[in-house]
Symmetry: D2
Subunit: 147 residues, 4 copies
């Protein structure tokens, strides 16, 4: 994580998210990281996803996750989420998921989304209004390539 932990959201592990090995089925971490991205975007006033007023649609092009320690049913998990990089048409989130009570890292993930035109789904430069909002929140840690 290049960013200090400035934005966090929390989830509690649902029974449906565990598997017969007794731990969380790993694909659910990607769903949770999506929840944390939505929370982050709402927090900086940029949750336009699916709304008619949105500036653009964002499409996932890459997601990865390192699973450090297991999480189990009913565990409270804190997700620290930041946008760490804005490219020309893409932007990347990093997320660290921490076990709330035991204070250990459960997983670390990274995802990259591409800004596409709402209608054509062709990549477009990340709009300036979005960049401004992210810059204001992330400060100097944000890596940025101008459009």
């Amino acid at each position: 994580m290049t960013s200090p932990h400035r934005f966090s959201s929390e989830i509690r592990v649902r029974l449906s998210e565990t598997d017969a090995l007794g731990i969380v089925f790993h694909a659910n971490f990607f769903t949770w990281m999506d929840v944390s991205r939505i929370d982050y975007l709402r927090n900086i006033g940029q949750l336009g996803e699916l709304h008619p007023t949105r500036l653009f649609t964002s499409v996932m092009v890459h997601a990865s996750c390192d699973f450090e320690t297991p999480a189990r049913f009913d565990d409270a998990l804190v997700m620290y989420t930041n946008i760490v990089e804005i490219g020309r048409t893409s932007f990347s989130f990093e997320c660290e998921i921490v076990h709330k009570r035991e204070n250990r890292v459960v997983a670390r993930g990274r995802s990259t989304l591409v800004a596409v035109d709402n209608a054509t789904w062709k990549p477009i430069p990340v709009p300036e209004a979005f960049r401004v909002a992210v810059r204001a929140f992330e400060g100097p840690d944000l890596k940025e390539r101008k459009p």
Copy 2:
């Protein structure tokens, strides 16, 4: 089941569909019954769902399931699915899920969907073309109320 078992599809339990109790998390049965409904509609040439050529959109208004015996990771399950009733604007499926190797009933479900206009999502009479296709498949066991 009022119908003999005339249409079946098969799934294999995914690890993601089990939970920490070691069995299938119950909500997955509803997802599988949706898979079986789609298979059924494809089989009678009525899978218009989500396609521009569809006659209507169908919206779930009721779903229920009795869970008889457990299913576990990697179990093969056979789903026997029929449309048992067509009302004025709705139609109902019944589904029996059987453990393939152990030949025991795992679950029995019922669902009712309402035909709605593609654009307005207001209920509309179940179209005659759909009724004809279901009648041809189900035969005299089908209960039907005319529009």
Copy 3:
């Protein structure tokens, strides 16, 4: 609902819980009702599920849901949950899911679970300690059949 709305929990619709029709895929309501049951049991000090100290394991034997109006991405939903009936070896929840901002009923569900022995998974009478806790919370609206 025989009970006034005394216990509620809240969820926000995840993007993963919507489908290509633009609304919540119906099976997710069953997952959310499971979340609300867990919240309810935690609230009355009876969340033993999966824990070594639990009195019993509870197994879902029936679930049903009426879907009244649609829910969409990012909607906040309030789930009002109560145990409405305790039988000899089973107990039943009712749940009403309300759209928080628009104050309309989205869905109403009912589920029945059977108490089984932790080891043998054979049905056992619902333990008195559990009955006492539910009675204290639900008051005279609770229908109860003694073991």
Copy 4:
């Protein structure tokens, strides 16, 4: 992919796996790749996962996926899966997901699992019997570090 496409399995996109953007929600690719790994292990006689006779438990430590083109409801997808590397205590799968009718790459993923002792969940060397089975299937393309 270092391996030619020697093992494939197939899935059909469920409605529940799409989202309100009209395409597959990305986390489902990780679930499907798990399905393909299970199919692969079953095919080489090494599906011991969760079974009392298994040699070891395997725990996911890393998963990543590049999403190349979208998949939609009812699309048939072919997953080409191989074990490409066996380390001392870990082994890695690569998976290429192809749109069956349109013959285009939808996604490419990689996952690494660690062999752990069934009881203690401590990492153990990948057992020789497992190595032998993978070697026989993958042939000289398999990268291998001996225990």
